[in-house]
Symmetry: C2
Subunit: 181 residues, 2 copies
């Protein structure tokens, strides 16, 4: 039996538009008092695995400053407060690729790093979409996208060319749901 | 073709023992100047999927303050600077469970959140271990562990009871490597 900790106090360590860090004081199960640094996210993330009738996965390429590389990723973003995650994903997919999504299937949700952050990400599958939407990129969004064979994607995850945990988790959820083999 | 950004300046936003946040200034591909908030980690993470001869996976339960829950996870931690990740994982496994690992197989590495952090995690598989090590927990580590059938683990990931991206990614890498079905 693992006991929860008791949060005694929380105060701001850092706060701007993008990031909120709190310095927390907690009572441990043995009664000891312990300081913890927590990254807090006001918005959930969400992402969508779009698979075309040929069984190919839509992958974007985008430069990501924190890792200093152009990476492979799937469409996604932050869910605005009060917004339904599926509406958010339809919006992000249209803005980033111009595709207009119909039905979305929920695949699962994961924590980005539960040892240091409360951030989590919802994953959806979309096989129902059409062309014709108008792309609308944020000021710092420079994205290309294309369709990739699932076997190629699996090989690139296995050899480390694709390293975004969203894509890796998407493969796991798609496999568990029997959507890919 | 996606252009990299040019990092013009980086300065500390927040810095303590656990977390380093920088406020970065970058030149975008269109020449615009943009401010970016980056979480920087001096240490890589690593984790190990331990599978016993019955095909069961070792899962720990630990309370995680950022998500306010007792969660399922696999053994892991931070790799000390200059330390080999496999040595680090042998140390963490012994400290957390008392198991003494022999050979470790590299499964893959993923970024925790490349849009906001440079943090990444290496994953290993261990089928070669013996009992007899002495557990040695950190001050704030209150952990239980047990063996779980893979089918149970897969069902718990699919139904959302297991949400740590490390476990979800481990399933994907194990599947891609042909280690589980």
């Amino acid at each position: 039996m693992v006991e929860p900790w008791q949060l005694l106090d929380t105060r701001d360590g850092f706060h701007n538009r993008w990031l909120h860090v709190t310095l927390d004081t907690a009572r441990l199960p043995d009664g000891d008092v312990y300081e913890y640094t927590t990254i807090r996210r006001s918005k959930a993330g969400a992402a969508v695995a779009v698979i075309n009738p040929q069984g190919q996965l839509l992958l974007e390429q985008e430069y990501r400053l924190p890792v200093g590389q152009v990476i492979y990723q799937i469409p996604g973003g932050l869910v605005d407060l009060g917004e339904d995650p599926t509406d958010s994903m339809r919006r992000e997919l249209r803005e980033e690729t111009g595709l207009l999504a119909g039905e979305l299937h929920y695949l699962g949700s994961f924590w980005n790093n539960p040892a240091s952050s409360d951030g989590y990400c919802h994953l959806f599958l979309c096989r129902d979409y059409r062309n014709g939407g108008v792309t609308e990129r944020d000021r710092a969004e420079f994205i290309t996208w294309d369709w990739y064979n699932l076997d190629w994607v699996k090989a690139r995850v296995a050899d480390g060319s694709i390293r975004d945990r969203v894509v890796v988790c998407a493969l796991a959820y798609l496999w568990l749901a029997g959507e890919i083999a």
